[in-house]
């Protein structure tokens, strides 16, 4: 049995070759378990294993099953806000309003004063779902696909 180790956020970020912001987001959204020890944040190695498995599932669902191009995904420059939106779409179902086509799948705003683009139909309700035209199309499609199993 391997002894539990506790890693700093910096060490986890280096291990994954991602920004510290990405790791802090994973912790605050509850996808990566961490401990607070007198103000210091530490990630138990056991929690890291669970997180790796989860990221593996996201990759499988997106690239192997979902038809998302890993090349495009990996090489698209993104702001931290766009990365956060992708992660939110991976782990959470859409709001009822978004599922019914009454609100944007990306930002949740209603469509009274914004231009929206259709993304396809929700597998469950059969409703057409939409996103504000201001969001990147690929990002909106990811969120719709994860949240609802939307098919174009």
């Amino acid at each position: 049995m391997m002894a539990e180790r506790y890693l700093r956020v910096q060490a986890v970020a280096e291990l994954f070759e991602v920004s510290k912001a990405t790791i802090y987001r994973a912790i605050s959204s509850g996808r990566l378990d961490a401990l607070r020890i007198s103000g210091a944040v530490r990630v138990p190695s056991e929690a890291l294993r669970a997180f790796v498995n989860e990221c593996g599932e996201y990759a499988y669902r997106a690239y192997v099953v979902g038809g998302v191009s890993p090349e495009t995904d990996d090489q698209t420059p993104r702001s931290e806000a766009e990365r956060a939106a992708i992660e939110a779409g991976e782990s959470a179902a859409l709001s009822d309003a978004a599922a019914d086509g009454r609100a944007c799948v990306v930002c949740g705003s209603d469509f009274t004063d914004t231009v929206s683009v259709p993304l396809g139909h929700c597998a469950e309700s059969g409703s057409q779902v939409f996103a504000c035209s201001t969001h990147p199309a690929q990002l909106a499609a990811h969120i719709a696909w994860y949240g609802l199993g939307v098919t174009a």
Binding site: M2, E17, R25, A26, C55, G56, Y60, P70, D74
Partner: protein, 76 residues
């Protein structure tokens, strides 16, 4: 099972390791041959996934030789 020595590699690093193009690695991920991670929309390959990546050239299916298999890969 991954242990503490597992590294998460960028696709470019994996491509350089095998001396193939990045496109070849992305294709392997898409076909499910190579396990990958998706983290914030970025792709990483756990080093332990590489242990089971690739097949021995002498067990190429249907009796193809390694040379003909490589030729088929190039022309695909």
């Amino acid at each position: 099972m991954q242990d503490d020595r597992t590294r998460m590699l960028r696709v470019k690093a994996v491509a350089e390791m095998f001396d193939v193009s990045a496109a070849t690695i992305y294709r392997a991920i898409r076909s499910g041959q190579l396990d990958a991670l998706r983290i914030g929309g970025s792709v990483r390959v756990p080093s332990d996934a590489l242990k089971v990546f690739g097949e021995p050239a002498f067990t190429t299916p249907l009796g193809r030789t390694a040379a003909s298999a490589e030729q088929a890969e190039v022309t695909r």
